[in-house]
Symmetry: C2
Subunit: 139 residues, 2 copies
């Protein structure tokens, strides 16, 4: 799917693709595949790959001490993404569409029937601090 | 070139492509074309497009008050980029290759014979504060 989207990866990146099933064991339905390009104290960029109708479950990125929570912009590259943001309802992202999610705001998203590739531009990513609505989830 | 790289833009983005000739009036030789996706106080993401053998001239991103200078990661999407970084010499970026330039570090870059498309992931972009080595340059 990444190659179809014209995204070149190095062999090390291909080997390092992260597969997150959120501890639920239902990857095809609830999960996410990620390539992390860069994640410093200041900036993070990733490609997110979603299988057809795969969902990334509802979560938020809380503040850490004096640092506000993660701010993230999702930019759809391929496919369709149905993004649900607290207080905003559903936002449909098609290729070239993007949306910025403010810190500590609940959100979840689901790919359309052809899956999706989404670029994420954000502040530092610390996935282990994400707060998921479903208490069974382990990140 | 962006379309060839599989990058979808909205009509507004296509209309808003920024063309920088750095005040030198020699765009084909010294210049840069930019699509700014997002530029908040915390995060910036752009696509940079370079014509064949076009150069972005040497500059650095200094600190602004207590905030360290801009940190930027260049990720080559298409073509070849010859990146020159103070203290590092020349770094050749091919599709899938990337390099992170630390704040306040002099750098310049030039596309190969087929031009280049480069994604930039960075902290806030304030181009008007960039310091160019060539005093004739106006950003």
């Amino acid at each position: 799917m990444l190659a179809d989207a014209g995204i070149a990866l190095t062999p090390a990146e291909l080997e390092g693709i992260e597969v997150a099933d959120f501890g639920l064991g239902r990857l095809e339905e609830i999960g996410l595949q990620l390539v992390v390009y860069v994640n410093t104290e200041r900036v993070c960029a990733k490609e997110l790959v979603l299988f057809p109708r795969q969902t990334c479950p509802e979560h938020r990125h809380p503040a850490v001490g004096a640092t506000p929570g993660k701010e993230e912009t999702f930019r759809c590259r391929r496919g369709i993404v149905h993004l649900h943001v607290e207080g905003e309802g559903e936002i449909v992202l098609r290729p070239g569409d993007q949306y910025t999610i403010l810190p500590d705001t609940l959100h979840w998203f689901k790919a359309g029937g052809e899956g999706a590739v989404v670029s994420e531009f954000s502040t530092q990513s610390r996935d282990e601090l994400d707060v998921f609505t479903d208490p069974r989830i382990v990140r």
